[in-house]
């Protein structure tokens, strides 16, 4: 306590004391989160703050000179056509990817829930995509879709569906779908596992009661499974949205953002502008914009989540 504090007003004094007392009372709670908080601060705190700082500077890679430019990067970004194109491309990438992973994950989880024959085999087999490094999976998918060497075209040719190999990844109109498929493949096992864990916590009696009432499978799913899984689905899709938004390996390995930038998302563009072309400041400004998008999204999403009666 310094001298100055003797002159502070009584109310503030007591507020401070109350605050201290509060921390003291909850010291164990703070102590337990402290390691995680400090660790994150030490490892990613600086890079994040640095990103914000750099977004206000012009910082070319081939010189050490940084020039303060204020919000110029932001103004130029919002002024450019490419930004809105990137938003659209990122949006469809996230939407299609998350929807695909969620639906497939649910489908697998629901079918694997029961005590079925060969359960162990199926459960293990469905996990395989998760055990392959992303970049390798992406290489394999690029290859499957290859117009000349790919299995997909070989199958379609054999079935007589097409006459010559089609290059999905080379067609600016549909290349993004070819990449989304790979992303869904990679991301589905995680969703399936989460949903499976969620399904386990649904009391079996609910289904038994419904079965007695003669409810169809679909009705059971619609009126028992989905509502019971609601919070798991919400959290899983929130995370999946964030991860899909920031994902890099798959797109980069499969198409590098091409052809004609048609598969580029914000993150791909950030990499190209900031790291490949060395325009660090511009890349950082894009990163901040992308972050703000996700933050607003997450807050709205969590509000919906908490409105449903669940506390955070």
């Amino acid at each position: 306590m310094s001298l100055a504090e003797e002159y502070t007003e009584a109310s503030e004094d007591s507020r401070l004391e109350r605050g201290l007392a509060y921390v003291q009372r909850n010291s164990r709670a703070y102590l337990l989160i402290a390691p995680a908080a400090l660790f994150l601060l030490a490892v990613v705190g600086y890079p994040i703050i640095e990103t914000f700082r750099l977004s206000l500077y012009r910082s070319p890679a081939d010189s050490t000179i940084e020039t303060f430019v204020g919000l110029q990067h932001y103004v130029e970004i919002f002024d450019s056509d490419i930004f809105y194109r990137l938003l659209w491309q990122t949006g469809r990438w996230v939407l299609a990817g998350v929807a695909g992973k969620t639906v497939l994950g649910l489908l697998i989880a629901v079918h694997l829930k029961g005590d079925i024959r060969g359960r162990k085999f199926f459960r293990t087999a469905f996990l395989i995509p998760w055990g392959i490094p992303y970049a390798i999976s992406a290489v394999v998918f690029r290859w499957i879709e290859h117009p000349q060497f790919g299995y997909l075209n070989a199958i379609l040719l054999k079935l007589g569906v097409i006459e010559q190999g089609i290059g999905i990844l080379g067609n600016p109109s549909i290349a993004w779908l070819g990449v989304v498929v790979a992303d869904i493949w990679i991301g589905t096992p995680f969703m399936a596992i989460i949903f499976l864990a969620g399904l386990q916590s649904i009391p079996q009696e609910l289904y038994e009661a419904a079965a007695i009432d003669g409810a169809e499978k679909w009705h059971q799913f619609r009126y028992i499974t989905l509502p019971q899984l609601k919070s798991v689905i919400l959290i899983a899709t929130l995370l999946s949205t964030i991860w899909t938004f920031v994902s890099f390996d798959v797109i980069w390995t499969m198409t590098g953002g091409g052809p004609i930038s048609s598969t580029a998302t914000l993150v791909i563009h950030i990499y190209q502008v900031g790291l490949q072309n060395g325009n660090l400041g511009r890349g950082a400004a894009y990163s901040v914009i992308g972050f703000l998008f996700l933050l607003v999204f997450a807050i709205i999403y969590l509000r919906i989540y908490t409105r449903g009666g669940d506390e955070l």
Binding site: P35, L239, I242
Partner: protein
């Protein structure tokens, strides 16, 4: 099920397995592409159109791979990096998640949200700043240079996931233990964690695979080829003019085997976790 007629139950079974097998086929096509190609000679891998089955299957690749590549070293390194990440992440995440689940304190919401913020930056976006941090701590070219960033990016999910599960465990159990004189740590390790097994298994799996699958940190923070993990090893085989695809794919397939064994093992735990959940009712 007991009320359903015999025919209907049979039909259901057919449908169930039909759906499962169809899904499985879809999921397996990419893996099959890899797997079948390892039995082809290089020239057949690049035949147009592709041959769906190796015309003259050969196990040669699986003989050569041991001498031509450092696949065992890479698998070993993958385990070191993944296990290191799991240990570090759980040590940090369990106390934090438990604290948030059991206490109401000012800043909890902020903490949980700001943990999530970490996820909102692509690792590749933060890589320059991370590079500064890694070199500042003198970690460049050590396993920790990969483990620490991986832990930072897996921590948020683990905190949230465990937080959610801790909340579902009735406080009453802990109360009675506390009355019996157990310490907080004892309660956590003896009572809470065993009940959290399914969540822990999911946590460990996620964290382990995150570190197993990512190339970026290894690519950027490790230049010592003795510390390469599987993805980095595979990509070191990409030559400018010649890439031995057959070897690359063989290494990739071999890299999956330890995980398949682990998956089969973990799957058992999930089932065990399920019965634990049932007892809870």
């Amino acid at each position: 099920m007991t009320m359903a007629g015999h025919d209907r139950s049979g039909l259901r079974k057919v449908r169930l397995y039909g759906v499962l097998l169809a899904l499985l086929g879809l999921m397996m096509l990419p893996f099959y592409t890899m797997f079948s190609s390892t039995f082809k000679p290089e020239s057949e891998i690049f035949s147009a159109p592709a041959t769906l089955f190796p015309s003259d299957p050969s196990f040669q690749a699986y003989v050569e791979v041991w001498s031509q590549t450092d696949v065992l070293l890479w698998i070993g390194n993958s385990f070191i990096i993944s296990l290191g990440t799991v240990v570090l992440t759980l040590l940090l995440a369990i106390p934090a998640a438990y604290s948030c689940a059991r206490n109401d304190f000012v800043g909890k919401r902020t903490f949980l949200l700001s943990v999530l913020v970490v996820q909102m930056f692509a690792p590749v976006v933060l890589i320059v700043g991370l590079f500064d941090v890694i070199t500042q701590f003198g970690l460049f070219n050590t396993y920790l240079a990969v483990i620490i960033p991986a832990a930072a990016f897996t921590l948020p999910f683990n905190v949230w996931m465990l937080y959610g599960y801790f909340k579902t465990i009735p406080v009453a159990l802990e109360e009675s233990a506390r009355i019996d004189g157990a310490s907080q740590l004892q309660i956590l390790t003896k009572i809470v964690l065993p009940l959290t097994k399914p969540a822990l298994v999911a946590s460990i799996t996620y964290t382990f695979l995150y570190a197993w699958n990512r190339l970026l940190f290894v690519l950027t923070f490790l230049t010592d080829s003795a510390k390469y993990n599987i993805p980095r090893g595979v990509f070191s085989m990409v030559g400018a003019l010649q890439t031995d695809w057959r070897m690359m794919l063989t290494v990739s397939v071999i890299g999956i085997i330890p995980l398949l064994i682990l998956f089969a093992f973990l799957e058992e735990y999930i089932v065990a976790g399920m019965t634990a959940g049932a007892v809870k009712e």
